[in-house]
């Protein structure tokens, strides 16, 4: 490992949800950034660079945010990896700080969606799958139906992901939805892409989340004695698929997990808490299996049995996940890291995973026809 230790010195976000049109991307990004800087006790003048993840924010959204919070003139970069954009921005910050280029930088994930995205998100129009009629909901529905057929999982077991994550969200003041839902409500919801219904799908949301990333010298400058360490921030892309294998093989998740475990020097069974990209219920199940934290084909059954609930053996999405917190796509990766930061510093309130010292956050962003995905990020935070 050639990078110097890199830490999260502070975190801040705004509540995700459907914000009015006048609450702009710039407003939200600036609010989250200011909250994170206040949390870390860093002044704008001492922030050396800004890394911004977004998808639909248009050209130089990061600079538009930076100009509002006193970072004009500093290095600002914009990072797009679809739903992994926020985590990809963090990865660039992690590399730069770990390489010794900076001691204190700011990472912002932000998205304004409710005024520009209707009916679900799609691949780029130039992608072959888009011209065939592919939607992300449909892709996960194909996964769900095959998972049930191959592993004997039930529709109810898949729906249990939504019930669990909504139950967790009740204690998360940043979540778009903070109410429990029943199994019957999930099963009876309006169908979107069968077998998945509305409550199997994460919502279209607005929001922003930010973290201050620091070297050891940066922490000293802020008077912070200890802070969670970014032990790994891995990134992989999908491979071109051939043949008639298991559509839920999740090789991309396996590779993303393996890379993070390698960099962090952490084993899968040492993870105490996971923030998982549950853009759809089934996605949480198959990705956990791909990461190797649940046995293949067992994820749905284990979810129903409470294994991944707060108080279970491996709590997944104590924040409520994308299903409840909302999914402003570029912000999600940063929000996951905010949650892990709060979990590892004992500040997660009613959703605290007791004694959590190692957390993993997973994002999967985008699709490319013929591959098993576009981008997957895996972040490991340790105390």
């Amino acid at each position: 490992m050639i990078l110097d230790p890199v830490h999260v010195a502070g975190a801040g976000m705004i509540r995700f949800g459907k914000h009015p049109a006048e609450t702009t991307l710039e407003t939200m990004g600036a609010q989250a950034a200011t909250a994170a800087m206040r949390d870390a006790g860093v002044r704008a003048a001492d922030v050396e660079a800004l890394y911004v993840g977004h998808v639909f924010g248009g050209p130089v959204a990061g600079q538009r945010i930076g100009a509002r919070i006193g970072l004009a003139g500093k290095p600002v970069s914009n990072h797009e990896n679809y739903c992994s954009s926020g985590a990809t921005a963090l990865r660039e910050a992690w590399i730069a700080v770990g390489a010794g280029l900076y001691d204190l930088v700011l990472v912002v994930g932000v998205e304004k969606m409710t005024d520009r995205v209707k009916g679900g998100v799609q691949p780029d129009p130039n992608d072959l799958d888009a011209s065939i009629g592919f939607l992300f909901a449909a892709g996960h529905a194909l996964s769900a139906r095959r998972y049930m057929a191959d592993y004997g999982a039930t529709r109810e077991q898949i729906a249990a992901v939504a019930v669990k994550n909504h139950a967790h969200s009740v204690a998360n003041p940043y979540a778009q939805y903070q109410k429990p839902v029943s199994l019957g409500e999930v099963l009876g919801a309006r169908p979107i892409a069968e077998p998945l219904g509305l409550l199997d799908c994460s919502p279209i949301s607005d929001g922003a989340a930010a973290v201050v990333v620091a070297s050891r010298a940066g922490l000293r400058r802020l008077g912070i004695r200890s802070a969670p360490r970014v032990a790994a921030c891995a990134l992989v892309s999908g491979t071109v698929q051939a043949g008639l294998g298991d559509v839920n093989e999740e090789d991309i998740s396996r590779r993303a997990g393996a890379e993070a475990y390698r960099i962090a020097g952490v084993a899968a069974d040492e993870i105490d808490v996971v923030e998982m990209h549950d853009c759809f219920t089934i996605a949480e199940i198959v990705r956990l299996e791909g990461l190797g934290v649940l046995p293949r084909g067992e994820g749905a059954r284990l979810t129903e049995a409470g294994y991944t609930s707060l108080g279970g053996a491996l709590p997944v999405n104590p924040s409520g996940g994308l299903l409840s917190r909302g999914h402003p796509v570029g912000a999600t990766g940063a929000a996951q890291v905010c949650e892990l930061f709060w979990q590892l510093t004992g500040r997660a309130g009613g959703r605290q995973v007791e004694g959590a010292t190692t957390g993993l956050a997973y994002c999967k962003g985008g699709s490319v026809s013929g591959t098993d995905g576009a981008s997957v990020t895996t972040v490991i935070l340790t105390t």
Binding site: K118, G119, G120, Q122, L128, D129, S131, I132, G133, F134, L135, A137, A138, A141, L142, S143, R145, R146, A149, R190, P191, I192, A193, E194, P195, L196, T239, V240, Q241, A242, G243, L244, V247, S369, G370
Partner: protein
């Protein structure tokens, strides 16, 4: 861009919606096949996704008979995409190819896993020059019908 009023031959022609992806007569999907390991790819690739060879990748016409590996009935889609429609992973067992496609020929509620389907061409809109673009979909094979 200058506009032409005279119709030149071919402007109302029919052509594949993407070059090299479908053949119109007879209707076929076009893929690529690795001479070294025999892996077939769709859409055609300039390399072999299995053995990574970049040489001796040949063009290949794919079999038209497939079976449904997984499917969904899409009930909600962005504006401009009429619902419901059936989207499926269809396997072409003869080629070892799995591809994404829409499926027609039966009520959406009657689509099943492993159901046999057959390739057909279908309009995929109109090009800027007026040509109609042909794409593909699969049709459920009538019960009892043999391939």
């Amino acid at each position: 861009m200058p506009t032409t009023t005279a119709e030149s031959p071919g402007t109302r022609a029919v052509r594949p919606f993407r070059d090299g992806l479908v053949a119109l007569d007879p209707p076929r999907l076009l893929g690529s096949r690795c001479a070294a390991c025999g892996t077939t790819a769709f859409p055609p690739r300039e390399f072999c996704p299995s053995c990574r060879a970049v040489e001796h990748i040949d063009k290949a016409e794919l079999a038209t008979a497939g079976r449904i590996h997984s499917f969904t009935i899409v009930r909600q889609a962005p504006p401009g995409m009429p619902v419901p429609y059936v989207l499926a992973w269809v396997d072409l067992p003869d080629d070892g190819v799995r591809l994404l496609t829409t499926v027609v020929g039966t009520q959406p509620e009657e689509v099943e896993l492993d159901q046999p389907v057959e390739l057909e061409l279908t309009p995929f809109g109109t090009a800027d020059d007026g040509a109609s673009l042909m794409g593909f979909r699969f049709r459920v094979t009538t019960r009892g019908e043999t391939r």
